[in-house]
């Protein structure tokens, strides 16, 4: 250790600030270049597929609307402005939409609405039909769900559970401002009233989620529909 210290000969030449800069610049240019090309490719793909995706979503929604309102032959979209409904002309992504459905004689047979809420795994998005004649929910379709396969996803397939929504009473009170008997969930085999939803055994949380979504949505939308029946009936005539 006390001997003369041999001169240190670096294995690599000391980095010149210019070389460092050039190296960093090369990395930045590489990442930037790949990022730029990636962005262009994604935008091109989006532009190319967007009309098809939009058409697919519209077809899926339209199919669901005619499924949840029995007897519907045609439909017209309305948007909520304040407390009244206006015929929706063109497109408005942000508007709360009410899809009025008519039979072959242009008579109003029901209104389809979208609603959503928290399910067991993730947000549940549903479309349901309301019949002014029956004062009740007459159909339900799950649009988006990540419920457990084989258990929670029975809300989409179980015939007994789906039968709940063939006629689910949501009659308004005398002032027409609130649902007289809000929708509630009961255990399987315990249904005694027409406003009760019978749960699926083994999928109680998902069943309750559907009942809650419908209760909250009907509380807001049924008074709007009943207060705008003439507009809905005459809106497209």
């Amino acid at each position: 250790m006390n001997g003369p210290t041999p001169p240190i000969t670096p294995t690599t030449p000391p980095p010149a600030s210019g070389a460092d800069g050039a190296n960093s610049m090369r990395m930045i240019l590489t990442m930037g270049g790949i990022g730029l090309l990636s962005g262009i490719l994604i935008v091109l793909t989006f532009q190319w597929t967007f009309p098809t995706i939009k058409r697919n979503k519209a077809i899926a929604l339209e199919r669901a609307i005619f499924e949840v309102v029995p007897g519907a032959q045609t439909k017209a979209a309305f948007k909520l402005v304040g407390t009244s409904l206006q015929l929706l002309e063109g497109e408005d992504e942000r508007a709360i939409k009410y899809y009025a459905c008519y039979d072959a004689d242009r008579r109003l047979v029901g209104v389809a609405l979208e609603a959503q809420g928290q399910g067991f795994q993730d947000v549940l998005r549903v479309l349901y039909g309301y019949s002014p004649r029956k004062h009740g929910v007459v159909g339900l379709k799950v649009l988006e769900s990540k419920e457990t396969p084989g258990l929670g996803d029975k809300i989409e397939t179980d015939p007994d559970f789906r039968a709940n929504f063939e006629t689910l009473d949501v009659t308004l009170d005398e002032e027409k401002t609130r649902v007289f008997h809000p929708i509630e969930m009961v255990k399987h085999g315990k249904k005694t009233e027409p406003w009760q939803v019978e749960a699926i055994t083994g999928a109680t949380i998902s069943s309750r989620a559907i009942a809650n979504i419908l209760r909250e949505s009907t509380a807001k939308s049924v008074p709007v529909i009943e207060g705008n029946l003439e507009i809905l009936q005459e809106g497209t005539q």
Partner: protein
Amino acid sequence: MAQTGAPAAPNMDVLLKGLWRDNPVFVMLLGMCPVLAVTNSVVNAVAMGAATTFVLFMSSTIVSLVRHWIPKQVRIASFILIIATFVTVVEYLIQAISLDIHKALGAFISLIVVNCVILGRAEAFASKNSVGKSMLDALGIGVGFTIACLCLGLVRELLGNGTIAGLPVFGAEFEPWIIMILPGGAFFVLGAWLLLFNWLRERKEQRT
């Protein structure tokens, strides 16, 4: 190595090894997350396999094309960027082809980005080999991955739902084994396939 001297010509072995000898699922045990999660039906399994194969093929091709220009320090970041781009592309394509399949695969389409099979092939093969060989390797591994997904999807849908690709097989009397389409069933079926393949391999080794 292919980088030194004359590049070796691509041969069929590069393509075929991914199907059986180096199968990413049954031999390398990679990409388990989507394999276990979305193979509850034949259609979902094939869709996931096809989406992964597309991303693998495209990303391996591009990585191999630009391998000489990417600095070593940023190679992994660059590969991830390339893979993420094609995953986004495939997500839009699936939505355009079928919203039902997109709904069924859910978040697992986006998670193809972190599928170690794809990054593994980019780093271990495409970044060191010619474009032709990388394309064949990606195709072989992708098809091998799809076959593995199909093997799981076929058994799980058959036992868990009594159908194959939606077509009833056992009739109305059949009581579905729900466990098979739940995550637990995926482990059982994968274990059974691994048992079969390892037994076949051992038997072959003993004979030779």
